[in-house]
């Protein structure tokens, strides 16, 4: 069963992240690299990606002529995806356990950040939607 683990944050959270000391950022990146390696070594890794800053995010709608209409203004409460991991595991419990591990990635002043991680099954096909 494939699950996606999503790390999200508001713009204010990203602003705080940008203020971390260089050592804290390096420790966080080192943890994330070791975490991905663990997933690969244990055979559950499918993919991972990190996203650019919220300031670069645009919301796109199609105009009447089908041309893209872009907007870069978001409410303060907007949760931006920071990055994700897709894993292939035996049970939801295993997915939750792995999510808890990444939730403990070191944050500011080397303390575990305890970031909430959203966990969802991914679709193997549109039939999974039960429509």
């Amino acid at each position: 069963m494939k699950y996606i683990l999503m790390m999200t944050g508001k713009k204010s959270d990203f602003d705080k992240y940008a203020e971390w000391s260089k050592e804290d950022l390096q420790a966080n990146v080192a943890f994330m690299r070791a975490f991905s390696k663990e997933l690969k070594d244990s055979g559950v890794f499918v993919s991972t990606e990190g996203l650019g800053w919220p300031s670069q995010a645009r919301l796109v709608r199609a105009g009447k002529d089908g041309e893209p209409v872009t907007d870069g203004v978001f409410p303060e409460s907007k949760e931006f995806l920071a990055g994700y991991w897709i894993i292939d595991v035996e049970s939801p419990e295993q997915a939750y356990k792995i999510a808890a591990r990444v939730s403990q990635a070191p944050g500011a002043r080397a303390q575990p950040a305890n970031m909430p991680i959203e966990v969802r099954p991914v679709l193997s096909g549109h039939a999974d939607l039960g429509l």
Binding site: G50, W53, Y96, L123
Partner: protein
């Protein structure tokens, strides 16, 4: 340049979609398949994935001892990721054009477009 196109909606929005006639949903899926096929043919396709509905979403935090603490209660305003497309395109305008096409095919739902992080941008 790699961009991710994110389609999101509230739980109420997803429920509304599920009440649509089956033919409408099938027609919508057919257009999305067509867009993926076009992106593959133009060499811009990297990946796409759909997610299972909000009812199965859980938020997990690690406790001090590493035990996962799960929670499945979300505010009504919470926007759930429904699916994404990753495209490799020469400029942001092309990413916006593809997002516009997906939006037009999907009742003008807004599509969030973001570039991927690089280690340089992460340490800026």
């Amino acid at each position: 340049m790699k961009y991710i196109l994110l389609m999101s909606a509230t739980a109420a929005g997803v429920e509304g979609y599920r009440t649509r006639p089956k033919q409408d949903i099938e027609a919508h899926m057919a257009i999305l398949h067509r867009i993926s096929k076009d992106l593959s043919e133009s060499g811009e396709f990297v990946a796409t994935q759909g997610l299972v509905g909000p009812k199965e979403a859980k938020v997990v935090r690690g406790e001090k001892n590493g035990v996962p603490v799960t929670d499945g209660i979300f505010p009504e305003a919470k926007e759930f990721l429904l699916g994404y497309w990753i495209v490799d395109v020469p400029n942001p305008e092309r990413a916006y054009a593809i997002a516009g096409r997906i939006s037009a095919a999907s009742s003008n739902i807004p599509i969030e477009v973001r570039q991927f992080a690089t280690y340089e941008s992460a340490s800026r």
